[in-house]
């Protein structure tokens, strides 16, 4: 048994969203004060896609977030920070060795993992969900010290368990993906430029993509579909589908309301960065209100899941609410699009 012990002086901070939390913590470790919402906003965390013909865990696929690793990749790229991403490592043993080498060099390293076999994870969340992120910051014999932003405190995990979750299979399999920031950030970063790039890209992804299942259009599509579920699939299945949507919106470390709160907080920070930019601050307020509407939507949905009385009417109300949310969100993006920085 080895007795090597390397623990990097890395500060664990809890966050709403796993990847932007990890990214923000990595930035802070390297000497750049970037909050979670800032990392999330610049890295285009906000997204919406609805793919009804693809079933994940027996329910239509739905995502409130961008593809895994987008936040880290784009936020470092837009800020001009030197970072490394290894997308795929074929040999699991080699992937672990690379991680060890990084730790010896004193580099805290982010890893994509599946949560189903993640030993310290809350049992109620242990589904086959592969887009989770954590940062490994120390090794002590056979145990790795990890910072998972969903958890209140840093955790430890054994070599075998970490290897297993890094090679979980299924949709968006991690395949040993790891990422880190190469060195301490000593030059000033042009955050304003990064914010502008981030906002433009998100606006494009939410209203600019000419495909009906992505962004605000996807939201409208979902709203129309919800209405049909009780007739098409029966009460039980409709309720199960609805439950899965609400879970995607409120669980899995979204900060609540499908990341809309985090994005609102980002817009507020961006507004302050641009000398209290009135339009950005207004957009932030609008986003906050939309997020509250999302939360109302999930409460309505939860009540519906529980009672299941008069389903057609209830699903109709939910659909109307969702259309209202879609309209509100669109206004925010239109507003952001028109801003001249």
């Amino acid at each position: 048994m080895e007795t090597t012990k390397t623990i990097i002086n890395y500060t664990h901070r809890q966050a709403g969203h796993c990847e932007s939390g990890a990214t923000s913590n990595l930035f802070k470790f390297n000497g750049l004060e970037i909050s979670e919402p800032m990392a999330f906003g610049v890295g285009n965390g906000l997204y919406f896609s609805y793919i009804p013909f693809l079933k994940i865990q027996f329910a239509p696929m739905l995502s409130f977030r961008n593809l895994p690793n987008t936040v880290f990749k784009r936020s470092t790229a837009y800020m001009g920070v030197d970072a490394t991403v290894i997308k795929k490592i074929k040999d699991p043993v080699e992937a672990m060795e690379r991680l060890d080498r990084n730790l010896e060099k004193g580099i805290p390293t982010g890893c994509q993992v599946g949560v189903f076999q993640l030993t310290f994870f809350p049992p109620e969340y242990r589904m086959h969900y592969n887009m989770h992120n954590l940062v490994v910051f120390g090794k002590e014999g056979n145990l790795y010290h990890v910072s998972d932003t969903v958890m209140e405190f840093p955790q430890v995990i054994t070599y075998d368990d970490l290897l297993r979750v890094r090679y979980a299979k299924g949709a968006f399999a991690p395949q040993g993906k790891m990422y880190w920031i190469n060195h301490t950030i000593d030059q000033p970063v042009d955050l304003k430029a990064a914010v502008i790039l981030g906002i433009k890209k998100t606006v494009h992804e939410m209203i600019g993509i000419p495909f009906p299942l992505i962004g605000v259009k996807g939201l409208r599509w979902l709203a129309r579909d919800i209405k049909k579920w009780p007739i098409k699939h029966g009460n039980d299945k409709a309720s199960f589908y609805l439950g899965q949507i609400l879970r995607m919106a409120e669980d899995f470390g979204t900060g609540g309301a499908g990341f809309r709160y985090i994005y609102g907080a980002f817009l507020k920070e961006a507004g302050e960065l641009f000398n209290h930019h009135a339009e950005l601050l207004e957009a932030s307020d609008m986003m906050g209100k939309t997020a509250n509407k999302w939360r109302e939507f999930t409460y309505m949905g939860a009540r519906n899941c529980k009672n299941r009385s008069k389903p057609e009417e209830d699903y109709g109300t939910l659909s109307v609410k969702l259309l209202e949310i879609a309209a509100d969100e669109e206004k925010v993006y239109q507003k952001l699009k028109k801003i001249n920085f």
């Binding site: 809890q14 966050a15 709403g16 919402p37 865990q57 027996f58 189903f116 809350p122 049992p123 109620e124 969340y125 589904m127 086959h128 932003t149 969903v150 958890m151 209140e152 299979k169 299924g170 399999a173 309720s239 199960f240 439950g243 899965q244 609400l246 879970r247 409120e250 669980d251 470390g253 900060g255 609540g256 309301a257 709160y261 985090i262 609102g264 907080a265 507020k268 932030s284 307020d285 906050g288 209100k289 997020a291 509250n292 939360r295 109302e296 999930t298 409460y299 309505m300 949905g301 939860a302 009540r303 899941c305 529980k306």
Partner: protein
């Protein structure tokens, strides 16, 4: 967060007992006066109801499959696959064989003819012994 918490009370499903108290998470809130705030708390009771519903549905599916295994329509692999919440493509990826072969193995007729090596691989994924795989305890 005065307004929000009032709203929570109004719109709660009436059942405010927490089912899951393993870990406290970070949540954001928004209010016109206070702006965006963060709070560390257990998952809201409303959402816990939804989480529970999803686990109940998984249990129900497992029971349905169990009945089909008992009457001999499906093989025990179907039961254990459902038990660890997997679907055919995922199990095939873990087994490193194609999906249609896994689908074939779900038939009890084909399952009876499987060789020890394949059975051992299935058993390793399910975390059980070969005996448990071929003779699940509910079959008596």
């Amino acid at each position: 967060m005065g307004n929000i918490s009032d709203e929570v009370k109004d719109k709660s499903t009436g059942d405010n007992e927490l089912i899951y108290k393993y870990n406290r998470e970070l949540f954001y809130h928004f209010d016109k006066e206070t702006g965006f705030t963060q709070e560390v708390d257990y998952q809201n009771p409303n959402n816990q109801v939804i989480i529970k519903q999803s686990w109940d549905a998984a249990e129900q599916r497992l029971n349905e499959v169990k009945q089909l295994v008992i009457i001999g329509k499906l093989s025990p692999i179907a039961y254990y696959m459902e038990k660890i919440l997997m679907e055919v493509p995922m199990l095939a990826a873990y087994m490193e064989i194609s999906g249609w072969r896994v689908r074939r193995h779900l038939k009890s007729r084909v399952f009876k003819k499987l060789n020890q090596e394949i059975l051992a691989r299935y058993a390793a994924i399910f975390g059980i012994t070969i005996e448990q795989l071929t003779k699940p305890d509910f079959l008596g």
